[in-house]
Amino acid sequence: MIERTLIVGMGNPYLRDDGVGIRLATDLMARLDLPEGIRRGPAGILPGLHIEPECSLGGLTLVELIDGFDRLVVLDSIDTRDGVPGDWHHFTAASLRETLNLSSVHDANFATALELGRRMGMRLPDDAEILVYAVEVEDTLTFDTALSPSLEARYAEFAGEIFADLAAALPATLEQAAGL
């Protein structure tokens, strides 16, 4: 049985740096030469790989989206106390309790929702198979479709690093992808 991987770009494309995850996911699709709009359902190009380039979900809604996948990759923004825009973090769901995002507090935080989904018999990836790549950002409160200049200046650098790391983490899924 083929392993199914879902990659999502999290964030808001209209709130300046909050769109960085969406930009990364869209960019990844371009690099993988995937046609526009590959979503759930048979991907066809890379078996078992599904990309949701724009996802503004959290909590229960996000868990509902990943039901049935073996692995989840989240590309997202993060704003930590002394973070430098353009630096990035990589962690798995095992450390989600200490992170500052992936939760829509309107319903339940992601760790709670994951636990709930598992108890309810959903087929969800293990914590170790939920990979989060989070880029430090500067401004997520201003309506704008462009990144902050400080983040834009480092985009090529962190995107390259993240994609290389991702390719190493998911060799079976991405080995056929040129240019990663």
Partner: protein, 488 residues
Amino acid sequence: MRSIRIDPITRLEGHGKIEIFLDDDGGVSDCYFQIPELRGFERFVVGRPIEELPRIVTRICGVCPASHHMASAKAVDGCFGGELPPLARKLREMYYQAHYIHSHIAHFYALAAPDFVCGPDCDPATRNILGVVQKVGLEIGGQVIKARAMAQDIQTILGGRSTHVVWCIPGGVSKGLTKEELERIRPMADQLYDFTLFSLKLFKDVVLANPAYVDLILNGPYTLDVHNMGLVDENNAPNFYDGKVRVVDYEGNEICKYAPEEYHHHVAEHVEPWTYLKFPYLKQRGWKGFVEGIDTSLYCATPLARLNVADRMATPRAQEAFEEMFQVLGAKPCRALLAQHWARLVEMVQNAETLKGFVEDPEITGPGYRVVPQRITGEGVGIVEAMRGTLTHHYTCDEKGICTSANLIVGTTNNNAPIQMVTKKVAQALIRPGQEVTEPVLNMVEMAFRAFDPCYSCATHTLPGQMPLEAVVHQGGRVVKTLRKNLG
């Protein structure tokens, strides 16, 4: 002067901070509920084609994207002359029922239920949806997940995609409903109806059967003497998608009833220097400050307010639930803010019945779901009831259809003043001189505004879900006590 800071607020959408100021004796002298506002939306949309706005505003809020989408689409319809075929309205309204159910389920089970099912003073580590499951049984969790998924599926079938809906376009919707799609929706609509009745019964079994909770709802500090706002149809029954805005005072007298395009004669917004968020009030009464009482110009726009302004519900089973609710509460309008959670469940019954009605409508799979607008009139106002309050979008555009202005009054914003007031009221009632401020006490302060299901978010993941809640007690310029709770 000591102050207690609760930051961040848990189980609430968006950044928030409560500052509680204590006098020298340890009683509450003042309380501010502050949130950083997002900047520049009006400037961001000016200069864009007006028909793009419904697609942009779904990103204003990840919690109620469809509410913004619908209000925006209606405002855009107005800019193009306002013609809309009857089927388009039906389809939009059908979609909106599923959206309501989807949101209300989450609020009740994940936000409200922990306080009631687990108890407002239980261990914060278990005071969440998992604690609810623990207490009520695994079966319930499965049903919640399943019902949420069905409500989501119905939206996906109708709107064509699961997130960031782009379905409403000027003069209608971009796709209709096929007979095959309708048959997929039919059993889900039936099951959602059953689930809404089940939820109502659960509320009765768990909450109403517990005298302490009923006492807390009816006799706790969670009441406010302000007025009520909500959309109603021609029979003064709640309609979430369309109608007139009715304002009724807390003694039951109608203050005004207006069509969406008249909103600016009735609602104005007051600005305070300590927050970016405005305070809407009834314009014809003038701003009178944060005061309760029959002459106040403040109002709530919430599920309870919507039922308070209604003479009846639009569907039979919801009508029964409505009558029973006000009978138990002992008054209509009801001022007990914690009854919001019950009102939400009554609304959900109407949502499900209305949804079933559309499934049975022989015209629902018809072809006439859009007319192409032929003129540009340049101005439109769209009002819907977002789950958390009356939502107004007001746009103008030039003769080429380019946006020249946008004004939004968001659901939660209506309740900004009442939330401030009730938070202070509850803090004053619970934080007494000489008494230690404990986590359960702070949680009960939070319950005051959680009842409003407030949403201050424009990105879905701006705030950690259940981060440690920190309360810092200051005295004489230094920290004398720090309280933390980790709900993760």
